[in-house]
């Protein structure tokens, strides 16, 4: 069983909600990323999403756009991201890592070459923001190498497309909780709950919910119905002002721990 499936199976067995933090590789500094990943795991992350910097992150809001720009200014691109994953894997053999980004860097690198290198480095899945299911043939080399192709679904996704996405999802399905860019503040919990319930009935994978999750309260609310909660912009924002790698790790832990606690408190009360 691959690391993503194993992790979700363990979560399910324990009755826990998964916690998936997102950080942009190379931000807030080029030497902090691997340490931050470990700090996130120590603070309760079940899976780490690592953003691959891109010059034109058209689906991202200002926080992650600027993180991308800063990372690129530090020279962090795809090659460096793979090196981070390899370094992370040397100390952590079990926490799944999903790379999140845009197609062009992977296409220019060569999809087949990227797939082999990413797998070899220890990545488990890839989420390509600008590759909807209509273009999924583009990423066939990723699947061939054994990387999960994580797909997105949105509130605006029509029923027929949603069925196709649920059928094709690998690893987990990432439900974008509202129509908008990352980090915007437009979460309507009742809408999200109703949609996720429908998706969970037809998806063959667990369903993670993200976009607009800011804190322990919103994460815990989503945790009542989602298999996992993704938290990105708020974390990237918190890390941005770090003084150094140690400070970034401290901030990452302080940010994530209360969210973990809130998710687990709900799980315990549910069990009790």
């Amino acid at each position: 069983m691959n690391r993503i499936d194993a992790r979700f199976a363990a979560l399910r067995a324990a009755g826990r909600t998964g916690l998936i933090p997102f950080v942009t590789a190379g931000d807030p500094s080029a030497d902090a990323t691997v340490a931050i990943m470990h700090a996130l795991v120590d603070a309760g992350a079940d899976l780490v999403e690592l953003g691959v910097p891109f010059s034109d992150p058209m689906a991202d809001g200002p926080v992650i756009q600027h993180a991308n720009e800063r990372a690129l200014a530090r020279g962090v691109g795809l090659a460096r991201v793979l090196a981070y994953v390899r370094e992370f894997r040397a100390r952590d053999a079990t926490t799944p890592v999903v790379l999140m980004g845009y197609l062009n860097p992977i296409e220019i690198h060569g999809s087949g070459r990227f797939a082999d290198e990413a797998k070899d480095a220890g990545a488990d899945g890839v989420l390509l923001v600008d590759c909807p299911i209509e273009e999924i043939q583009t990423t066939a080399p990723l699947a061939a190498a054994g990387l999960a192709r994580v797909l997105l679904a949105a509130p605006t996704t029509a029923p027929a497309r949603l069925a196709a996405i649920c059928a094709a999802a690998e690893g987990f399905l990432y439900y974008v909780s509202f129509a908008g860019i990352t980090g915007a503040d437009r979460l309507s919990m009742d809408d999200v709950r109703a949609r996720v319930a429908g998706i969970k009935r037809s998806a063959k994978t667990p369903v993670a919910v993200g976009f607009g999750v800011r804190d322990a309260a919103s994460a815990a609310a989503i945790g009542t119905f989602a298999d996992a909660v993704v938290i990105g912009s708020a974390l990237v924002d918190r890390l941005a002002a770090s003084k150094d790698a140690a400070d970034a790790c401290r901030r990452a832990g302080e940010f994530l721990a209360p969210i973990r606690a809130a998710l687990d408190a709900r799980a315990e009360s549910h069990v009790a």
Binding site: F54, N104, P105, I108
Partner: protein
């Protein structure tokens, strides 16, 4: 790619693909609005009432048909083939851009969308969008890079006079590509009531096809006018290519006329070898940008690179996917024209014919002059004079050290 194409009019396929290029490479949240737009557009493009409405506005508001003018003095001076100019510069607002914005504004109205967004680089598409929004009573928001706002103050003011809200974009390189990113973000966030008027034949399906359809009136007219005025089709077509909307507008009607040679002039800036250019087809490679697979200018890490051209309208690191297809099939040839060559052509046309061409169009004129020199005097080279140069006089003066 070695590909035998029988009928160029059969492209794109229903997924918006021109061979390997095109498609819909966008975030999931955009798939629904794109589907809504495709449904509306593919119904309207065959609807006689819609087409009559469009034709009426093209005639009475835009001022179509635009003439084909035989640049006799220029041709004589060059001493080769005859250079003919398709005068898109004579359209309302001074360029071909309005052919597309009138069409898309009509689509927006049919879809019941009251808010229009657009991206602009030099400001020409922004002005053309603000113009039709005023004409149809639509709210208009134009995204423009902060760097471009500084460079193009007059067009910014024109847009404001027309009632548009111009929003500065401060991310990335703060130019056209970033304005496009920001417009896409706006669309994702405000999908319900908003129509996005893309200004060129790029972006996700159906934009490359829809923008082509609206601009291809240029080539359809030209094909008829050539028969009327010269009794035959031209031997060659030349147009400048940034995103490529004026070029595809001229080329499309002629794609199946295999005896008509087709040339696209890209901005070679300070020279391809310097790296300071915007020649995606000449010097780029296939990739994915702004919702479509096409040739892009990027580094070995896949990061989109900043471009350079004296003409802001050609300053774009991608190109429409149909051009990528025409390049690979060999149906069209794409060449680089430097800033200096374009400026020389600008002056030559001004002095021999009394026409101030846009700097963008001057790239096409420059290549037409090169081509004409190699051909006998009975050959006909048709150039898309896509815009007028009034907007560029400050740029030209500054470049030539003149303080206006």
């Amino acid at each position: 790619m070695d590909m035998k194409v029988e009928d160029y009019f059969a492209y794109p396929d229903p997924h918006g693909r021109f061979g390997d290029y095109g498609g819909s490479y966008v975030a999931e949240t955009l798939m629904a609005p794109l589907e809504e737009l495709r449904a509306a557009y593919f119904a309207l493009r065959r609807d006689p009432a819609f087409l009559a409405e469009l034709d009426s506005d093209l005639r009475h508001y835009v001022g179509r048909p635009s003439p084909i003018y035989h640049a006799e003095r220029l041709s004589k001076k060059i001493g080769g083939a005859q250079i003919l100019l398709k005068r898109e510069d004579l359209n309302h607002t001074g360029a071909h851009k309005i052919n597309n914005t009138v069409g898309q504004a009509l689509v927006a109205r049919h879809m019941g969308k009251r808010r229009v967004i657009a991206e602009t680089g030099a400001g020409q598409h922004g002005v053309a969008t603000a113009t039709v929004c005023a004409r149809f009573g639509l709210e208009c928001v134009v995204y423009m890079g902060a760097v471009d706002i500084e460079r193009q103050k007059i067009n910014v003011y024109r847009m404001k006079l027309l009632g548009a809200d111009v929003v500065p974009v401060t991310s990335g390189s703060r130019t056209l590509k970033d304005a496009l990113n920001e417009a896409l973000r706006d669309w994702v966030t405000n999908v319900a009531g908003t129509f996005y008027i893309i200004g060129t034949v790029a972006g996700p399906h159906p934009y490359p096809q829809m923008v082509r359809d609206f601009n291809s009136v240029v080539g359809r007219e030209a094909r008829v006018q050539m028969q009327e005025q010269f009794g035959r089709l031209p031997d060659a077509l030349v147009a400048c290519v940034g995103g490529g909307s004026n070029a595809i507008g001229l080329f499309h009607a002629f794609l199946n006329d295999r005896d008509v040679a087709i040339f696209g002039a890209e901005a070679a800036g300070e020279g391809i070898a310097t790296g300071r250019h915007a020649a995606s087809l000449v010097a780029g490679r296939p990739g994915v940008l702004h919702g479509n697979r096409t040739y892009v200018l990027c580094d070995d890490d896949g990061q989109i690179t900043e471009t350079h051209s004296v003409s802001a309208g050609l300053d774009y690191p991608g190109v429409g996917p149909e051009h990528a297809f025409l390049k690979d099939t060999g149906r069209a040839q794409y060449v680089g024209v430097t800033d200096d060559e374009a400026l020389a052509a600008f002056h030559e046309l001004a002095r021999t014919e009394g026409i101030l061409a846009a700097l963008e169009s001057s790239h096409a004129v420059a290549h037409a002059m090169k081509l004409a020199r190699t051909l006998p005097s009975d050959r006909l080279v048709l150039v898309n004079l896509s815009g007028r140069g009034d907007k560029d006089v400050h740029t030209i003066a500054a470049r030539e050290g003149i303080d206006l």
